[in-house]
Subunit: 218 residues, 2 copies
DNA sequence: AAATATTTTTAGTCTTGACTAAAAATTTAT
DNA sequence: ATAAATTTTTAGTCAAGACTAAAAATATTT
């Protein structure tokens, strides 16, 4: 069975939504994620249900089947391996890779992706700290929490981001926040949720929104 | 101005047809090359004429504009660079690269293709002996003739192929014909045009069709 | 110079994946 | 328990890019 670029993007989006909110995924949630209209989503999920990659009950949202999950993980594997390639071999920075990887993830060739994996020496993480599924779709889930959940005086290491947009990543670069960076929470402001952190012996304040998009391992 | 995958394929096909038959390219020739119908071609060339990448006079075929030529060369550059990448870095053989390159050639990112070029150390030829245009679309045209045009007892080096199909390339592999291989014409059979050649001190006979698809430099 | 054959274009249809507007179902508020 | 608000589905439209069948133009024979 073959899947179009559009179908692959739907499966990927639904997979990502499922990993956060365990329940059935709503039409609206999918529409929002894919920046499309709810009616378009209804059309597409009917087609995907016919192809048996998800189950769909009217008015009750959708849920991926094992096959659907497998296909989504295949696309995610390709996306992340290409991101590693771009950073490691082609001098891209972590804020430049996402858009190109969105295109590359749809190239169809099992040999291509498995040879790429070998060429890169089987990386386990992409440039944003996200795990790369192996051939069988298996990947380790790493322990991580949002920076905003740390208490005053707690220490952690940045291990990922919750937002891969170029804007956010460039912001992090500007403040020397990269994967592996040690971060200590100095104080938290209850008024606006902003956090004062210590990085490389320098104190700085970041907004709650920023703190909500940085993953930390203690 | 943005071009779709389909539009890029039309431009590439027309470019290739133009390099062999200098004149205006007929609707039918394009249809044949792209394995589509003449009516579909008429539709598309109207659109491409609107976009000013080719000139089109009803019933008289088409001809690329400078812009059209530039875009076609960009796609060809990408195709060939990806082919080099697949062979040099990902253990593909020359008969496996074409289909994947057909997909990769449509990825849009100037940084990607220029960094890939750098990573590969600016190759001048693809795995089939075809020249790779540089950023500006410039490439050297190499001197080459068909093996079938050699006279008895003449010697040459294989520098390219006229057919990149997997079937043909596998045939060449089987008979140890690869780029750089020295080939001597021992005799030619006027009855069926077949050629007896000497390769690595071994004599073998190849059909006229095969001899018509191997490029030689004397 | 007609007649015939071939090529090219036009007209109309189909599929995919989107959209808007309106109807129907469900959820939340009163 | 109704009413109001929200979500979801349906119905109808559109553009891209393909297709078939038929008409029109051009090329080739006789
Ligand atoms: Mn990404
Ligand atoms: Mn990533
Ligand atoms: Mn090729
Ligand atoms: Mn090639």
């Amino acid at each position: 069975m073959m899947f179009t670029l559009s179908e692959e993007n739907y499966l990927k989006a639904i997979f990502h939504l499922q990993t956060v909110s365990g329940k059935g995924i709503s039409t609206n949630a999918i529409a929002k994620k894919l920046e499309t209209k709810a009616s378009s989503v209804t059309d597409m999920i009917k087609k995907l249900a016919d192809k048996e990659v998800l189950t769909y009950i009217k008015y009750q949202g959708v849920s991926l089947t094992d096959l659907g999950r497998k296909i989504a993980l295949g696309v995610i594997r390709k996306h992340r391996l290409w991101e590693v390639f771009l950073v490691e071999k082609l001098n891209f920075s972590w804020d430049e890779v996402h858009d190109v990887a969105e295109q590359l993830e749809h190239i169809k060739s099992t040999k291509l992706i498995n040879e790429l994996d070998t060429f890169l020496e089987f990386p386990k993480m992409d440039p944003h700290g996200d795990p790369i599924p192996d051939k069988e779709g298996k990947f380790q889930k790493i322990e991580k929490k949002l920076l905003s959940t740390l208490k005053e005086n707690q220490l952690g290491v940045c291990v990922g981001v919750n937002d891969s947009s170029s804007e956010f990543l460039k912001y992090l670069d500007r403040y020397q926040i990269s994967l592996g960076q040690k971060i200590r929470v100095v104080s938290k402001e209850s008024f606006d949720g902003s956090v004062t952190i210590l990085i490389n012996n320098k104190e700085m304040s970041i907004s709650q929104k920023i703190a909500n998009n940085i993953y930390i391992q203690s």
